[in-house]
Amino acid sequence: MEYFGEQLVNGVVMGGVYALIALGYTLIYGVLQFLNLAHGELYMMGAFFGFFTMTALGGPSASAVPVAVMIGIMFIVAMGGGALLGVAVERFAYRPLRNSSRLAPLISALGVSLFLQNAALLLFGARVRLYDTGQFIDLRSGISIGRIRIDPTEMMVVIGALLLMAGLWLMVNRTRLGRAMRAVAVDQDAAVMNGIDVDRTVVWTFAIASGLAGAAGVMSGLLLYPVDQYMGVFAGLKGFSAAVLGGIGSIPGAMLGGFLLGITEALVTGYLNPTYADFIAFLILILVLLIRPRGILGRPAIAKV
């Protein structure tokens, strides 16, 4: 039972990271019905921004400011940088394609991914960077229940993910911007007629989603240490799977999907074989889609004849 608890914690923690990435996918899909396949690259960039902020502040071991402040600044820089980059990508790669076929932005997104990965390679070099969280956070502190340990970074990831999700939910459901987003999601033309600036709403959507990706990048850096140019590819795939599993377009769905995916992986790793973790996770996804084609919390499509 303790072993099960241990693996559950592992799964929930990794699920938090997936969920944060999934939120970005879901937000953009919810508003524009479009898969931003370059989202993983923004997460990668966020992780790098966080890393370089940390280095600029004196590195992991000799920080010029208190650790909490340093982490705060890392998050702010990564989220801000991610948001700016996301807005630029939207402006450049997606806006010209907003009314074209559904496949065009997909290819454009792949072009953006390729460009961002290699720009990172050019600018940052190929070397894998390490966050070295152990240098400034005592990983042996935190909560322990029997053998199950939850270290501070793990708590931070899970709580941070939940807070960001709650904030996002409130933003979408309780603010003017959120109303505008929902309006654009339903009908862009009608939104325009009701005085909503669609471009502005889309820009904000991208800014928020990409900011979340940046935050996820820093979190995964703190949690997992290594950061490289291609970390976005697989993380993006996982986040995207999580969003689909939960029901793409649904904010609680993204969260649920992320945690489910993380837990599935941890349990398959724990009880079966890690090589099959992805295989089984994907199998479950396909089965869920076959039973509920719009994901667990997704609303069924209304077929109008």
Binding site: N10, A126, L139, Y230, A266, T269, T275
Partner: protein, 395 residues
């Protein structure tokens, strides 16, 4: 109007031509990054007597972009350094040609035809992965083109199928037993977990270690993990409290560090033992072990200078780079000898490659190949990481 149009077009085309011509020229002087200066090479090949300056192109096949770029870029930079050093010392004009394979055998196979078709190329450094070596083997042996890998360690590659293949690193068949013997003997482990990363590198070494451990009577369990796994907490949870050593076969040292930190965090007694892929500054948890096919090159007098200059120019490096320096050297020296003998074509270089003898290489010993293309007297060294993470030679 039409006339102006034509004039404008003509002028621009001329500008484009001139500019790109000049720009093209600018690259070929960059001996490292640049394309081959083919005329020089063919001149050297056809008339060695009149042209005392030897030269030619050497292709570097490595994952320069894509998921393994951290390995490939390091390898490329070491090759650049080797060529620059050699040209400076011998006033030769050898140049490198980049060949990006992304660690994909399919791309490597296509690129092998490109390399074969470029007659200026007299030798190849790489490719990096064992499956890539299998994929390029047929084309290179048909063309009689020698290729020296600095990281392909699958023992099967030197079974005679690839007569023009050489490698400067020992195979898994050397590393596995060495590490297993140390784990069983010096560490005295009773129970070992082997984490096998599902890559051609990881699979080979894991199998060889596990077999050797079993032979030595040490209980062991192999846990296979996919290459793109991000978190290892769930794998570490599987490691029992009675396990003494976790042997890891990652290509990227940072992952070994992840496992080590995770073990520390969960308070398990097991220590991490990394295969040579983990020999890098990124793996630094005190008390861990790591094996390498060379003594730490920073501690070797012959290598200290190279290591220093590399760090100055390109920054930190790990385990896959330094052997490339030696691999490149072996081709350069072979080419130079072939050139002196008046046979600086592929056949000449290949013949001389077999006579390779680099005394006091930066890997610590002398480098020479046996009849199958494996490096002679291959030996593995084992390090223990001290509290600051610095490797201390223990065997």
């Amino acid at each position: 109007m039409k006339k102006r149009l034509a004039l404008g077009m003509g002028g621009l085309a001329a500008f484009a031509m001139v500019a790109s011509g000049c720009a093209g020229g600018s690259t070929s002087t960059e001996s490292s990054a640049a394309a081959a200066s083919a005329p020089a090479a063919s001149a050297a090949a056809s008339a060695p007597a009149e042209a005392p300056v030897c030269g030619g192109s050497i292709a570097v096949m490595a994952p320069l972009t894509g998921g393994a770029a951290s390995i490939g870029q390091e390898q490329l930079n070491f090759a650049k350094l080797a060529v620059d050093d050699f040209n400076a010392a011998n006033s030769s004009t050898y140049a490198l040609v980049e060949s990006d394979t992304q660690l994909d055998a399919g791309q490597a196979s296509t690129q092998s035809t490109s390399i074969v078709s470029d007659s200026a190329i007299i030798g190849v450094v790489g490719p990096a992965g064992s499956q890539e070596v299998s994929a390029v083997g047929p084309a290179f042996s048909e063309a009689g083109l020698g290729f020296v890998s600095a990281s392909a360690t699958n023992p099967d590659l030197t079974n005679g199928d690839n007569p023009t293949f050489f490698r400067v690193v020992p195979t898994d068949a050397v590393q596995g037993p060495t590490d297993a013997e140390f784990i069983a003997g010096t560490i005295g482990a009773k129970k070992v977990v082997v984490i096998e990363e599902k890559t051609d590198y990881g699979t080979g070494i894991a199998k060889s270690v596990a077999d050797a451990l079993t032979a030595a009577g040490v209980a062991n369990e192999v846990i296979a993990v996919p290459e793109d796994k991000k978190s290892y907490d769930d794998v570490v949870s599987k490691v029992g409290d009675d396990v003494d050593v976790v042997f890891v076969t990652f290509q990227v040292a940072a992952k070994s560090e992840q496992v080590a930190q995770s073990l520390v965090k969960s308070g398990k007694k097991a220590v991490v033992f990394g295969s040579d892929g983990s020999f890098s500054g990124d793996f630094k948890t005190g008390g861990s072990y790591v094996s390498a096919f060379a003594p730490d090159i920073k501690g070797i007098p012959a290598a200290a200078d190279v290591a220093q200059r590399f760090s100055d120019a390109y920054g930190e490096f790990g385990t896959f780079g330094p052997p490339v320096y030696v691999a490149t050297q072996s081709i350069l020296q072979a080419a130079q000898r072939a050139c002196a003998a008046g046979a600086s074509d592929r056949a000449g270089v290949l013949a001389e490659l077999k006579n390779t003898n680099i005394a006091g290489s930066i890997l610590g010993g002398d480098i020479a190949f046996d009849a199958m293309g494996d490096v002679n007297g291959a030996k593995f060294y084992i390090f223990k990481l001290d509290e600051s993470g610095a490797p201390q030679l223990v065997q």
